[in-house]
Point group: C2
Chain length 212, copies 2
């Protein structure tokens, strides 16, 4: 199931540090290029397990892990983002992913995801508890109780499992990943390339419609 | 053993596809920023083995491997480089690494490395045979026979083993890697960041000398 190559499907995991960078950057960057975003949280840990990886490569490989934290400091400095290395990594983000699923096409999705990410990567807080997420939803003017109830109901749980399985079936092996039609772009380092590609598709499609 | 943070130590492997991108780009990019390059080939396979990896992650992980070849097509398009997926991957580049060690501070080092990389990633040819490298050296106006003899002599072999071991001891786990003083930057995606950092060090050092 691929979408039109005129949107960017943004596949991210709330525990993934490089997803943090893209969550903070994508709305502004996509608006500049006129590209609509489809927000699709998924659980990277589940995919790692199907790839026979027992944890994040940043945890399994000591050298790469040490590098990644230094790289994150520099990248956050470059993008003007705050940063604190989480004392728990990777943090489980099942509950915020379920909320993000419910809010995927709501105007609050970007703000919600950014606030959850800041809890994890700036404030070093747990992000998987309802009482941590409720204040975020309330701040956004939403009915926290209702949304969190719905997030924890079986149909939402099932949809998140399906969204993760769909990511796996599309060949996704890391986060963030951007899908533009059938083209896959992996890592925050490819966000700009993915947006440029999507905006080119939009222009081509407009030209081809104008010719008809 | 770290060098002054006013040069960029370029650690690359002739079999590594992302090293291909950096080998093709670095001389032009470094000249623009006024940063001298130290060319340091090493054998990534040896480091993978000390990390208990039996091969490149692009070979071991099917999903990542499939992605990488598409990513390379797009990256080469972006940087204006030719590209053909090698029929053997990763190719062994021991002999060209030994030549690169001998030529590290010679004016022909950049041109030599680019031509070897093009043999691997554009012409899909073996790069580890003396009769493949001789024409490259001859084209560059060099004494191919002399250089290849010296490349295959024990002292050169020993120096390449040492250069690889030194890369490992510095925490290098992939290629290309750029070292600027004690700062490590991994992947072609960080080449510009590494050069910017080095050029800032050069400016700071000049200012501090001017103040004395």
């Amino acid at each position: 199931m691929t979408t039109e190559p005129s949107t960017i499907e943004f596949r991210f995991d709330f525990g993934s540090n490089y997803s943090y960078l893209s969550v903070m950057r994508i709305e502004h960057a996509a608006r500049e290029k006129g590209v609509p975003i489809m927000w699709k949280a998924f659980l990277l840990g589940q995919i790692f397990r199907t790839l026979a990886l027992e944890n994040s490569p940043f945890v399994l490989q000591k050298e790469k892990g040490a590098y990644v934290w230094r790289d994150m400091e520099r990248q956050c400095c470059k993008f003007g983002l705050r940063w604190q290395q989480p004392s728990a990594f990777p943090r489980v983000g099942v509950l915020p992913s379920r909320v993000a699923l419910l809010g995927a096409v709501q105007c609050w999705i970007g703000a919600f995801c950014r606030r959850v990410m800041e809890r994890n990567f700036v404030l070093d807080q747990d992000i998987n508890q309802a009482d941590r997420l409720a204040p975020i939803l309330t701040e956004l003017g939403l009915s926290a109780g209702e949304i969190l109830d719905q997030a924890q109901a079986e149909p939402t749980k099932k949809r998140l499992r399906e969204q993760t399985e769909e990511a796996r079936s599309r060949g996704i092996f890391g986060a963030p990943t951007f899908l533009v039609g059938t083209e896959m772009f992996w890592s925050n380092d490819r966000l700009d390339d993915a947006l440029l590609f999507a905006s080119e598709q939009i222009i081509e499609s407009s030209l081809s419609q104008a010719r008809q």
